[in-house]
């Protein structure tokens, strides 16, 4: 009974002040003490993880190679066209004195940190990383991996920080379809996968389209994510008679279930509000 009461007391204090207070600092200190053990456990498991990835990669290598070859051809021609368009865009922006907002990765420095633990329960999908306020990380900073958007910093301690993943039920990311310019919000759907919600039914979003963060539209309400962070690829899009919006399912670029390290984007002074 005493232990239940102590648990309830801790729960109440922790719930009432999740980002500050003595208990928050104590938990941060405890996390720093646990960190070497967590890193050691990750290192012990690493060879097994590598072996699994190796054999898993072998099984899919042939089909993936053919798919990637066709993608390389497509992206080579796209890159050529983009280079021409980018040169034109720079000249036009200069002529019009266009003032752009924060755009990924300009205006941000990356703080790369190791993932020491993760929670992948249905209640919360979070990571704990080995960098905190001492490295300049702030609450609500965007987090990316080499492949794309991972999530957002949801709690900061001096040496560690908690990252809320894109697949968490509380995560909402304004996004835009690069091909059709359709905008909406990326969040967890009722089936558990990611969806692009609130997309107009008239827009022709198709499977294969790419989604990036939308960034700030109204300077009075700055978005947490800068424009242009790759989020994922549309896997399925269709309209139904019963739903008000287009049903768009997507696959994130970042492999959120096996992240070893991530980069937190810290805004440089120029882009800080």
């Amino acid at each position: 009974m005493a232990l239940v009461l102590v648990s309830l007391t801790l729960l109440t204090i922790s719930f009432r002040s999740p980002t500050s207070g003595a208990l928050h600092d104590l938990q941060g200190a405890g996390s720093t003490v646990l960190r070497p053990f967590q890193i050691a456990a990750s290192r012990v498991a690493q060879p097994f993880r590598d072996a699994y990835d190796y054999f898993d990669g072998l099984a899919t290598a042939k089909s993936e190679n053919a798919k990637l070859r066709s993608e390389v051809e497509f992206w080579r021609s796209e890159a050529l066209l983009n280079a021409v368009a980018a040169r034109q865009e720079k000249a036009i922006a200069r002529e019009l004195h266009y003032r752009a907002g924060a755009t990924f990765p300009n205006g941000y420095r990356a703080v790369t940190a190791r993932v020491i633990s993760s929670s992948a329960s249905p209640f919360a999908r979070t990571l704990v990383i080995t960098a905190g306020s001492a490295e300049g990380i702030r609450n609500r900073a965007p987090v990316v991996s080499g492949d794309g958007l991972v999530g957002l910093v949801s709690n900061v301690y001096s040496q560690t920080a908690v990252v809320r993943l894109l697949t968490d039920t509380q995560s909402v990311v304004p996004a835009v379809d690069v091909q059709t310019n359709a905008s909406g919000v990326v969040r967890q759907g009722s089936a558990g996968g990611l969806i692009l919600d609130e997309v107009n039914k008239q827009l022709a979003v198709k499977a294969g389209n790419q989604l990036v963060t939308q960034g700030t539209i109204d300077p009075n309400y700055p978005d947490l994510y800068p424009f242009g962070i790759p989020i994922g690829r549309v896997t399925h899009a269709h309209a139904t008679d019963t739903s008000s919006f287009l049903v768009v399912e997507l696959q994130p670029y970042a492999n959120l279930s096996s992240l070893q390290a991530v980069s937190v984007l810290v805004a440089t002074k120029k882009h800080r509000k």
Partner: protein, 174 residues
């Protein structure tokens, strides 16, 4: 229960909790992951009774909440109750019954998930009942798979108590 037993239980649960938050939580099989900590706690509770189960659950929950930087006390609360309840089951029935660890794991996995769901709901946090139900069967199966080896290791470390050492407050039924 001797002091040496307490130390062994603390080390065992600490290792299981660190392995759970650092390694096992990243495994994803049909939306579920094996819960090494819960299985270890059940084994300890069956072998050492309700008091050791409750204390072990509280300690292990604190380690998990600190390791994942989650709401402090949340996992402790649910694991304390789970450890106590399984400990009572171990005390009131023959703990040497072969099916006891498997039956305990199957039942406690379901109750643990429901317990977390209720606490999250009461706190006004996200409580996706659909996702919990969907991952329940894979979670039970995965936990049952690791039960055999984990119980064997814990039993080797914590030798079963003699009948005289068992709680005198309850009547043995088995």
């Amino acid at each position: 229960m001797s002091l040496w037993d307490g130390v062994k239980i603390a080390v065992l649960l600490f290792v299981a909790a660190v392995a759970q938050v650092s390694v096992f939580s990243q495994i994803d099989v049909f939306g579920a992951a094996p819960d090494l900590l819960l299985v270890t706690l059940v084994a300890v509770s069956l072998l050492r009774g309700s008091v050791a189960g409750a204390c072990g659950g509280f300690f292990a929950g604190l380690v998990v909440d600190t390791g994942t930087l989650g709401t402090l006390g949340l996992t402790s609360l649910v694991l304390t109750l789970a450890g106590f309840w399984i400990g009572r089951y171990g005390e009131t029935t023959g703990r040497d019954r072969a099916h006891a660890p498997y039956l305990s794991i199957a039942v406690v996995t379901v109750l643990y998930e429901f317990g977390l769901l209720v606490v999250h709901f009461v706190l006004g946090e996200s409580a996706p009942a659909g996702a919990v139900f969907a991952s329940l069967l894979p979670a039970v199966i995965l936990n049952l798979v690791v039960t055999g080896p984990v119980y064997a290791i814990v039993r080797r470390l914590l030798r079963p108590q003699a009948p005289a050492e068992l709680s005198a407050e309850v009547q043995l039924l088995g």
